[in-house]
Amino acid sequence: MNLEVSRSSTLWCRVGLARQKVFDRRRQTLFLIVFCVLCLGVILAGSAQAAVANQTNLSQRNQAPSWAHPFGTDWLGRDMLLRTWSGLSLSLRVGFLAALFSSLIGLVIGLTAATLGGAVDAFFSWWIDVFLSLPHMVVLILLAFVSGGGLNGVVISVALTHWPSLARVIRAEVYQVRSADYVQLSAKLGRSPSWIARHHILPHLWPQFLVGLILLFPHAILHEAGITFIGIGLSPHQPAIGIILAESMRHLSTGYWWLAVLPGMALLVMVKLFDILGENVRALLDPRTAQE
C-alpha cells in the first residue's frame, strides 16, 4: 500500500516535470521568435540613419574602434556603426522584397503544377530542374546584367533565382494532401475542388509557405550582398552592406581591419537571426514538434 502511494506520487512528479518542460520549450521558442523579430525591427530602423551615416568628418579619419565609434571610422571619417546599421536595413528591405516575390512565384508555380497535373506539371517541373541545374551566382550575374543593375536588378535577379526549391516543396505538399484519405472522402461527399482547396489544402500550405518565406531571407540577403559586393548590384550611392564591404576591400592592405570585419559580422548576425526565427516558427507550426 505504502509502496503503491510512493510509486504513484513519483509518477505524478514525472508528469509534472514533463509538463514543466513542455511549457519551457514552448516559451523558449516564443521568446526566441519575439527576440528575433525585435532585433530585426531595430535593424530595419537603421534606414532613418542613412543621412547621418553619410556625414563625413575629415578630422576623424581611419580611427580604430573606440567608445565614441564602436565600429571605427572610415577614410572619410564616417562612423562605421551608423553606416553598417543603415546598410543592413537597406539589405534587409531589398532581401524582403526579393524573398517575398520569390516565394510568391514559388507558391503560384507549385500550386499550378500540382493542381493541374499532367502536361502542365511536367512543364513546370522541367523549369524547376532547369533553374536548379544552373549555378545561382551565374544566373544572378546574368539577370542583374540583363535588368540593367541597380535596385530593381538586384530584386528581380534574386527573386527569379530562389523560387525553385520552395515551388518543389509546395508541389509535393499539395500532392500529398490531395491523396490523403480525408481529402478523397471530402471529394466523394461532393465538395467542390475550390472548397477543398480553401478548407483542406490552403491551411496545410500556409505554414509551409510562411516558413519557406522566412528561410528564403538568409539566402536572399546573402546573395544580394554577394552580387552587390562584386559590383553588379546597387550603386555606391546606395550603401548596402555589400557595397560597404567592397569599399573596405580597397583599404585592407593598410591594416584597417575594422572596415571589413565588423560590418561583415553584423551581416552574419542578421542572417543568423532569420535562421533562428525560421527554425523556431517551423518548430511552433509543425504539429510534430509543436508540443515538444
Binding site: S133, L142, V146, G226, I230, I232, L252, L268
Partner: protein
C-alpha cells in the same frame, strides 16, 4: 546495355537542357536595356562618332532581328565557335578553357578538402553525439552555413596576408613573372587562401548531413545487434556505418558543385584570382555578351556533369539502386 540506355537518355536530357538554357539566356540578353556597343566602348564613348558605332553594330550583326541573331549564334555554336570575347579579345572558348583550368585547381582542392574534412567532422560529431566535441562542431557548422563567402575571404586575407604576411595578397602567380617561370610551390602558395576559403564554406553542409545520417544508423537494430556481439564504436562505424553514410555524403558533395562555383566567383573576386569566376564578373560588369552566354552554357555543363557522376557513383556503391530507374 542498360547502362548504355541510361547514358543515352542522360545525353538527350543534357542536349534539351542546354538548348532551353541557350534560348532562355539569349532571349534575356537581347531584352537587356544595356547597349552592347556602349558597354564595350565604355568611357571612350565621347571620342566615337555615330558612324563608327553604326559600323561596330553592323560588324557584330546587332541590327538583325533577335531570331536571326539567335540562329546565327546557334549554328556557330554547333561548330564549336562561341564567338569572340570583347574584353579579352580572344575566342570565348579559349578564354573559358584558360580560365577554367586556373579555377579547376582552386575548386578541385577546395572540393576534396571540404569533402574529406566535412565527412570526418560529421563522423566524429555523430559518433559522439551530445558530447562537447559534437556541440563545438555543430556550432561551427551552423555558423558557417550562414557566413557570407566573400566576408570569410576578407577575414582570411586580413589575418594571413595583411597581418601575418604568410600568404600573398592577390593573384594566382607572383607579379611580373612569365607563366613558364612560375614554380609549382609558388602556385600552391597563391592557391592556399582562396582554396581554404572555399573549403571552410563547403564543410558545413556535409558535416551536418553526415552527422544526422550516422546518428540514425547508430540507433538502428542491426547496430544494436552488432553492439550486443561486442563490437566497439570504431568497429561499428568502420564495418556498418561508413558504407551507409558515404553514399549520401558523396551525392551531396557532387550536388554542391553549383554552390562551389558560386563561392569561387566571390573568392576569386576578393583574391583577384584570374579564374572563370572573375571572368564571369567581368563579363557581367562590362557587358561582354558572348562570354557571358558561353559561361552560362559551360557552367550548366559543369554542374550537370557533377550530378551525373553522382548518379553513376550511387549505382556503383549501392547495388540496390539501379541506373535508369527514376525515382
Amino acid at each position: 546495355m542498360k547502362v548504355l540506355r541510361y547514358l543515352i537518355r542522360k545525353l538527350l536530357r543534357l542536349v534539351l537542357l542546354l538548348f532551353t538554357i541557350s534560348v532562355l539566356s539569349f532571349t534575356l540578353v537581347s531584352l537587356s536595356p544595356i547597349d552592347p556597343v556602349q558597354a564595350y566602348v565604355g568611357a571612350e564613348m565621347m571620342r566615337i562618332g555615330p558612324e563608327q558605332r553604326q559600323r561596330i553594330a553592323e560588324r557584330w550583326g546587332l541590327n538583325d532581328p533577335p531570331v536571326v541573331r539567335y540562329m546565327r549564334w546557334l549554328s556557330s555554336l554547333m561548330r564549336g565557335d562561341l564567338g569572340t570575347s570583347a574584353i579579352y579579345n580572344q575566342p570565348v572558348s579559349q578564354v573559358i578553357r584558360q580560365r577554367f583550368l586556373t579555377s579547376l585547381g582552386l575548386m578541385g582542392t577546395a572540393w576534396v578538402l571540404s569533402g574529406v574534412l566535412g565527412f570526418l567532422l560529421g563522423v566524429l560529431s555523430g559518433a559522439r553525439a551530445g558530447s562537447w566535441i559534437d556541440q563545438v562542431i555543430r556550432f561551427y557548422a551552423y555558423l558557417l552555413a550562414s557566413t557570407p563567402a566573400f566576408w570569410l575571404a576578407l577575414l582570411l586575407l586580413i589575418v594571413f596576408a595583411v597581418f601575418l604576411k604568410w600568404a600573398p595578397v592577390c593573384c594566382a602567380t607572383p607579379p611580373g613573372l612569365l607563366p613558364e617561370q612560375v614554380t609549382f610551390a609558388q602556385r600552391l602558395h597563391h592557391l592556399a587562401l582562396p582554396a581554404l576559403t572555399l573549403s571552410i564554406i563547403g564543410i558545413a553542409n556535409i558535416t551536418l548531413h553526415t552527422r544526422q545520417k550516422l546518428i540514425t544508423i547508430l540507433n538502428s537494430d542491426y547496430i544494436l545487434f552488432a553492439r550486443a556481439q561486442g563490437e566497439n564504436l570504431f568497429g561499428l562505424i568502420w564495418h556498418h556505418g561508413l558504407r551507409n553514410i558515404a553514399l549520401p555524403a558523396i551525392t551531396l558533395q557532387f550536388a554542391s558543385i553549383s554552390e562551389l562555383f558560386g563561392g569561387s566567383v566571390l573568392a576569386e573576386q576578393v583574391f583577384a584570382y584570374p579564374g572563370l569566376g572573375q571572368a564571369t564578373v567581368q563579363a557581367g560588369l562590362r557587358g561582354d555578351v558572348p562570354l557571358l552566354l558561353g559561361i552560362v552554357l559551360f557552367s550548366t555543363l559543369f554542374v550537370f556533369t557533377g550530378n551525373t557522376i553522382a548518379d553513376i557513383l550511387y549505382h556503383l556503391i549501392d547495388p540496390r539502386i539501379r541506373l535508369g530507374v527514376e525515382s
